[in-house]
Structures are given as C-alpha cells and as structure tokens.
C-alpha cells in the first residue's frame, strides 16, 4: 500500500533523509519512531506530496506521489504535526470545506461529516470556532479532516502530541480501530505508543532507517543475554556475592533496596535458564525469595541501543532536519 524506495531529501547541503526504504501492507499500522529531528516529518511530507524527494520514489496505493500526485493525494489522509485549522471557521464549516477539496461527492458530504465527527468525538464542538478549541480538540479535528474522504492511507504526524492521558488512550484506540481498513503510518517519539498501537516499527535516526521489525521481534532480537529480576529478603546479609557465585550468572546489579529487602538484576549467559539455581540458592540460605521474573528489554532500551550504536558521522543530517522543522515555525 505504501512503498518508499531509496528516498533521499536534501535541504541545500544538509541531508535530512538519507536513502530510506520501507513498505507497509494494507491494513497495517506502521510506527515511525525516532528522536526529534530524525527525519520523520520530512519523510511524511514526501509521502503526502507536500514536498518532492531529492532522490528515490514514494508510492501510495500504487501511485507515484510525484508522477500522479492527484491520484495519490486522493487516497491519502494527512494529519500534520500542527493541525491545519482555519481559526475563523467553525468546526463543521472547516470540515465541509475539507470534504469539498478532497472530492467527497456532494450527496455523501453531510453523512461523512457526521460519521467522522462521531468517530473523533467532536460533535459537541461542531459550531465552535477553531480558534477557540483546546489543543486536544484541535488535534481531533485535524484527525477528523484526515479521515473525511475515507482514504486508503493515513499519515499521522505525532497524533497524540499535546493530548491529556485520557485523550491519548482514546486516540490510540481510534487509531487501532483504523488499522484493518486503512494503512496507517504514525510518527512518534513516545515509545509505549508504538508498542501499544503498531504492528511494525521503523526506527529512524539521523535520516537513516536503523531497524524495521515487529515490536516483539525487536525486543527479542536485541536481547542479547537473559536478565532476571530477583527480589530477596536477605535479613541483612549480602546477597550480591552469593547470587554472583551461582553457575551461569555473568553479572549482578542492585536495582533497588529498602531495609532488608533488595532487588537485583541478574544477567546470565544467553540461552541458559538460571531460575532454578537462583531459587535453590536463595532458599538454601534461608532467605525469603519474594520475586523472581525474567526482565524483557523495554522499547526504551532498544531505542537507545539502536540509535546510539549506529553512530554514523552525519551530525549535519539531524541539524538539517531541525533547521527544516524550525523554518516551519
């Protein structure tokens, strides 16, 4: 449904997006993850036909965004980082205008309008001027605008930015519900968002794709060694050295401690399950074993790992994107 091939975007001498390729199938929710200034917005803008790429190709629903922009745009809904609202218009006037320029047939306009307003829960604001909306409502009106023409592809640039926790949960649920019929690409730098909503993740850093996979695979792939969390009531004794002496354990670190209870992160050789030995050791000492569980590498850790290990010397790429983003302010 979406295909990006060797996409490069340069702003003068700086490269904001460098040879990015990825695909998204119909019904998939693709998370676009990266630190600020990584080239997420630029990539999305190329996909929506807002700006052309310097090199490479982008196809939306089989149409090249540069060669057949009208056909591609007709099948794309886009929520930019700042919702593009006209402050002087009321919400329903705004959406009516959007429906018109997006080519929604006259006979379907009012029913489409009603259904997207219901879906994004903005019906109670229909007659309010856009200038008077709160940030959360603006975001949702922006989302409603993107959904109006029932596009095959939805491109959402940080859809939950600026929302309160309740709205974030609602918006995520809405986006999840959109997958299936629509192909969704959403960008974010909030990691839990990706693991909760997306089927697949593209991690982008300094204009380059550093990882593409499902959240589970990414977690598994990057977990080199097994980590256990062990909480022990050692009655004042030092459990750290005892745990280190268990065969197969490579490293023990204290993660929390209060009074006589201490929690430890225990690393073991990869592929070796040391839980039985750990439990036996603790019990044989007469200590209390309060907790023993495997620790999964969180997305935060994965993210930090992939974005820092690939320390390509393209500092200016990030600078370029930051400049581009600043120029939009």
């Amino acid at each position: 449904m979406i295909e990006v091939q060797n996409l490069t975007k340069r702003y003068g001498p700086v490269t904001a997006v460098d040879d990015v390729s990825f695909k998204a199938e119909r019904g998939e929710i693709l998370g676009f993850l990266g630190p600020n200034g990584a080239g997420k917005t630029t990539t999305m803008r190329v996909l929506t036909g807002y700006m052309p790429a310097t090199e490479g190709k982008a196809l939306v629903a089989g149409f090249d965004v540069l060669e057949q922009p009208i056909e591609a745009k007709r099948r794309t809904g886009y929520l930019p980082e700042t919702p593009p609202l006209y402050p002087d218009m009321t919400v329903s006037d705004y959406l009516a205008f959007c429906a018109r320029i997006k080519g929604v047939p006259r006979s379907e306009r009012s029913s489409r309008l009603r259904s997207v307003m219901e879906r994004t829960q903005i019906a109670d604001m229909a007659n309010r001027h856009c200038a008077k909306l709160s940030k959360g409502y603006r975001q949702r009106v922006g989302l409603a605008q993107a959904l109006l023409h029932n596009p095959d592809v939805l491109i959402l640039d940080e859809p939950t930015a600026g929302l309160d926790p309740k709205q974030i949960i609602e918006t995520r649920r809405l986006i999840k519900g959109l997958g299936g019929d629509h192909t969704v690409i959403l960008s974010t730098h909030i990691l839990p968002e990706v693991s909760q909503t997306c089927n697949r993740i593209v991690i982008i850093n300094k204009g380059r794709v550093v990882a593409v996979d499902t959240p589970d695979n990414l977690t598994a792939r990057l977990r080199g060694s097994e980590t256990m969390y062990v909480q022990v009531d050692a009655m004042g004794a030092d459990a750290e050295t005892t745990l280190s002496s268990v065969p197969g354990v490579t490293r023990v670190a204290v993660s929390d401690r209060r009074e006589t209870v201490a929690g430890y992160e225990v690393n073991s050789e990869s592929g070796r399950d040391v839980r039985r030995e750990l439990a036996a050791t603790v019990v044989s000492r007469g200590w209390g074993l309060l907790e023993l569980r495997p620790m999964r590498m969180s997305l935060e850790e994965i993210f930090l790992q992939v974005t820092t290990e690939e320390s390509v010397t393209t500092e200016d790429a990030a600078a370029g994107d930051a400049a581009a983003e600043a120029s939009r302010e």
């Binding site: 036909g49 922009p69 745009k73 006209y86």
Partner: protein, 255 residues
C-alpha cells in the same frame, strides 16, 4: 472548477469572518464618498458657469463627472489592495494550513485561481459600494450607461493586475507586514513608472508608458474597449498568476 470555487468561497468567507473585509470596504466607501462629493461640487460650479456663459453644449455627466471620479479614485486601491492580498499565502504559510491545501488532491493552479477569484470577489464588493452614487446620477440626470459599464470592466481588469502581483508577493513570505509593504511599493512603482518617460529616448518612453497600469484604464473610462488594453491587462494578470505558481512550486522543492 468546483475545486477553484471551493477555494474562492473559502477565501471570501475568510475575508468576511475577519475584520479585513469590513475595514477595506468601509475605508473605500469613505474615501470614494469624499472624492465623489468633491468632484460633484466642482462639476456643479462648472455647469453653473457654463450655463451663465450661455454655452450651446450642455455639460456631459460622463466626461466631466463620472470619468474623473473613477480615474481619481483608482489611487485608493493602491493603498487598499495590498491589505486584501497580504494574507492570501502568508497567513497559510504561517499557520501551517498550507499543508492542508498542498496535500489535498488539488493542483497548484486550482489553489491560486481560487485565491485570485476570492480576492476579486472582495474587490468587486468594494466596487459595488460605488453603484448607489452612480445610480443617483441616473436619477438626477441622464448619463450614458455604456461607458459606465465599460469603466467597471476596466476597473475589474486593473484590480486583477494588482491582485495577481499581490498574490505573488504574498507567496514569497510568511510575514504579512513584509507582504503588505512590498506589495504597496510595487503598486506605487507601477503607478509612477511613466513619470520619467518624457526624459527618456523614444523606445524607452514607449515601454515605460506601456507598463503603467493605470494609463491603460483611460480608454475604458471613455467607454472604449481597445484590444490593446485588454491584451495588456489579461497578459499582466496571467503573468502574475504564473509567477505565483512558480513561487509555490519553488517553495515546495526548497522545503
């Protein structure tokens, strides 16, 4: 075409939703009213004198009142039209709504033509303010209506030139103050460009005279539609809109 009208409609609504339309039309109404009154007083005195001298020919309302009024009031547009065009692109760029237009299934030309028509709509509303004055003359005297219609046509074309230049300048910046000042300067230059004509060689003289936007209005106010002037105005407007298209496209590549 439906897309063009959608944009035009949105633009026109935007003018009337903000104070701009009311300020612009109000200011124009005040100034036009004053010009009309002043020239009416002159006309009044003139016709008295003519009658006193026992002139055989009656005074001509078209030539001696309506024409000077419209020629003199074109200067008002010089100040007012930059205010109409300043926000067309600048505002959309500043607020980010340009992203909505450029990612909607619209061509650049449809957007530009829509914005042009929207501004023309407001300009036409300004001209409509003058209709009661002219209508009063029909009630009091008997002017010819054809030259008046042709004058309005000429005014629409002239305003179109100003608006197309204003659109172009607005597409260059996201700062409305810069847009309004630059537009005003360009208008003023186009206005006075032939002042130095008489000091130049014959070739340059012709070119400078030809470039002056307002000189071309003269024949229209006489009730004459000369193809020369039509060609000038229409090619001027097309050129302005073309430059705007190039500017929007360049902006897109630069990002």
């Amino acid at each position: 075409m439906s897309n063009v009208l959608a944009i035009a409609h949105k633009e026109l609504k935007g003018y009337f939703a903000s104070p701009i339309a009311y300020v612009v039309i109000g200011l124009y109404a005040i100034m036009f009213g004053y010009f009309f009154y002043a020239l009416l007083l002159y006309f009044d005195r003139q016709s008295m004198q003519m009658a006193g001298l026992g002139a055989s020919q009656p005074v001509n309302v078209n030539e001696q009142l309506i024409r000077p009024v419209f020629l003199n009031t074109t200067v008002i547009f010089l100040f007012i039209l930059p205010m109409v065009t300043m926000r067309t692109y600048s505002e959309e760029k500043r607020s980010g709504t340009i992203e909505l237009l450029l990612t909607a299934p619209l061509t650049d030309f449809q957007i530009i033509a829509g914005k042009f028509l929207g501004a023309m709509g407001l300009y036409a509303a300004m001209l409509a303010v003058t209709i009661p004055h002219v209508a009063a003359l029909f009630w009091l005297g008997n002017p010819e209506w054809i030259p008046i219609v042709v004058t309005y046509l000429g005014l629409l074309l002239m305003g179109g030139c100003f608006i197309s230049v204003g659109l172009f300048i607005s597409s260059l910046t996201k700062n409305q103050i810069v847009a309004v000042m630059a537009t005003f300067t360009v208008f003023l230059m186009l206005w006075v460009i032939n002042w130095i004509a008489s000091f130049m060689g014959p070739r340059t003289q012709d070119v400078l005279n030809y470039l002056s936007i307002t000189d071309h209005l003269d024949d229209f106010t006489r009730g004459v539609i000369d193809t020369k002037h039509l060609v000038y105005y229409i090619s001027f407007i097309s050129f302005g809109l073309y430059l705007t298209m190039r500017s929007v496209d360049t902006e897109r590549w630069r990002g």
